[in-house]
Amino acid sequence: MKNPVTVASGTFGYGEEFDRYFDVSLLGAVTTKSISLKPRAGNKPPRLVETPAGLLNAIGLQNVGIDRFLSQKAPYLRTRNATIIANIYGHSPEEYAELARRLEAEGAADAIEANLSCPNVHDARTAKGAVLVSQSCEAITVYTQAIRDATRLPLYIKLTPNVMNIQEPALAAEAAGADGVCLINTLLGMAINPETRKPRLANIVGGLSGPAIRPVAVKMVWDAARVLRIPIIGTGGISGAASAIEFLLAGATAVSVGSMSFRRPDTALRVVEGIAEYLKRHQIADVNQLIGAMQA
């Protein structure tokens, strides 16, 4: 990556949506919306509700499916010279493996990010115990190994923050052969409209993102960084260069800008520029010197 800044899956579409605001090849990479084998229609609306300094979403992984990704979306990003991190979602280890294999075979990705943590594809009313793959270390091991066996592309595992101790799933991913982890996916949350007494999301439960969750994400990155040897992509509430640098200092090797791209489509580019300006101002030669450099 030419710089440590990418965008968070699902907040930047397939990259083309933002091309009209800036040259997306200036980012370290474009991380695309989770892709599944078949196209998915996603959840019923309403799918979004704003919360204090944040956003709850229950999109339900609506996506064009791997075929259209390979025939249209990836080729377009290639014409724009973008580095591609392809985020994938499946219903079994085999589906993930298949997705990774096809992406590598078609040269449609420079790295794979496996979303083992989407909160919006289960029925919240009946769920008990571990409902997301990345809430179980055993499941992480099985899924990661399957994908690892299927591809030689750099492999990142995206984890849920809805665990007691993030070090455990992170170490499980590392042990199973991941090249890195992405922290964090959204926090489970919900909101109710007091006037109608109905949940504000058709899916009832959704994932919380945005600046509101930043302190939680920074803490998880810091926790994981103290025990991992593989890199971390830090995500959660980044709104500009200052908050991106917080993640680097906590131990992230790279960062991804998520929901803030909705508020300002050019946020990721501003983060790239802001980090460069910060390095200059502090006379730091290499951005890697910031990684884990918090002075506790």
Partner: protein
């Protein structure tokens, strides 16, 4: 062309209880904007409210544009406190405007409540390109919420007023008013307002063999097709998707494509 610009607030006035008109300066956006398109407005600088608010272009001027909005909740409440001289970040123009079809016989605008916002710009465009200004059905809950009537009249439009409480015009629903105007196969109806008004208007138009375009609302995050938050269910697949995005596939849709029942349930309106 799409812009993100800090636009100067040129004027900002309360035009009816809780209803504001804000004029902003931006030649770029004004040049690019079409009637029916919208912009995303940053209501405050700080990140709560986190998202911009979608607002359509109500009037398009040489040097800027006018928004007409109703205070619904926190975001519009904060917006209403801004004063001329301050700036406001605007992203746009976004979405598809109304198609302007001079070849059609008759153009009827059906507006309910704050749904009127997009129509001054449309009425002007129709008046200029179709030779004949559109007819306008202007419905609202009560007299003081019948906005823009004089503006429409100044463009030469015939304006039919209706209020729920009978305080001005007829005490009738907009769809019923449309029925009485006798639309036919050569008529194009443009509707915007509460969901129930749009669906009943669409039904009247359909029965009469008239075309009907509606401008929909939905919760939006990005306004650019990326977040997949603003979808509505369509009766017809669009690029293989049953879910269409209000922001980039709309906000103007052929009423015949919309699954009104699903949409009503979703937005509870």
């Amino acid at each position: 062309m799409r812009y993100i610009q800090d636009c100067e607030i040129v004027a900002h006035d309360l035009v009816a209880p809780k209803h504001w008109r804000m004029r902003l300066r931006s030649e770029d956006i004004a040049r690019a904007a079409q009637p029916g398109q919208f912009c995303m407005v940053e209501v405050v600088e700080t990140l709560y409210p986190f998202l911009r608010r979608p607002m359509c272009f109500s009037e398009i001027h040489d040097d800027g544009f006018t928004l007409l909005y109703k205070v619904e909740g926190e975001g519009t409440q904060l917006l209403s406190q801004r004063v001329p001289g301050q700036t406001c970040s605007i992203q746009g123009p976004l979405g598809n405007g109304f198609p302007i079809a001079p070849e059609l016989e008759r153009h009827v605008i059906v507006s309910g409540g704050i749904g009127v916002a997009a129509f001054p710009a449309l009425a002007r465009a129709l008046a200029e390109t179709c030779g004949r200004p559109p007819e306008v059905i202007l419905a609202a809950r009560t007299r003081e919420l019948l906005l823009c009537a004089d503006l429409f009249r100044s463009l030469g439009c015939t304006v039919h007023l209706a209020t729920d409480d009978g305080s001005a015009g007829e005490k009738a629903y907009a769809a019923r008013m449309l029925e009485r105007l006798g639309p036919g196969p050569g008529t194009l109806v443009y509707a915007c307002g509460p969901m129930i008004m749009m669906s009943t208007t669409a039904a009247v138009a359909a029965r009469a063999g008239a075309s009907c375009l509606v401008s929909l609302e939905a919760q939006m995050a990005c306004g650019d097709g990326a977040c997949l938050g603003c979808v509505v269910e369509s009766k017809v697949e669009h690029e293989g998707e049953k879910m269409v995005r209000v922001c980039v596939d709309g906000p103007v849709f052929d009423a015949a494509l919309i699954d009104w029942e699903a949409h009503n349930t979703a937005y509870d309106l």
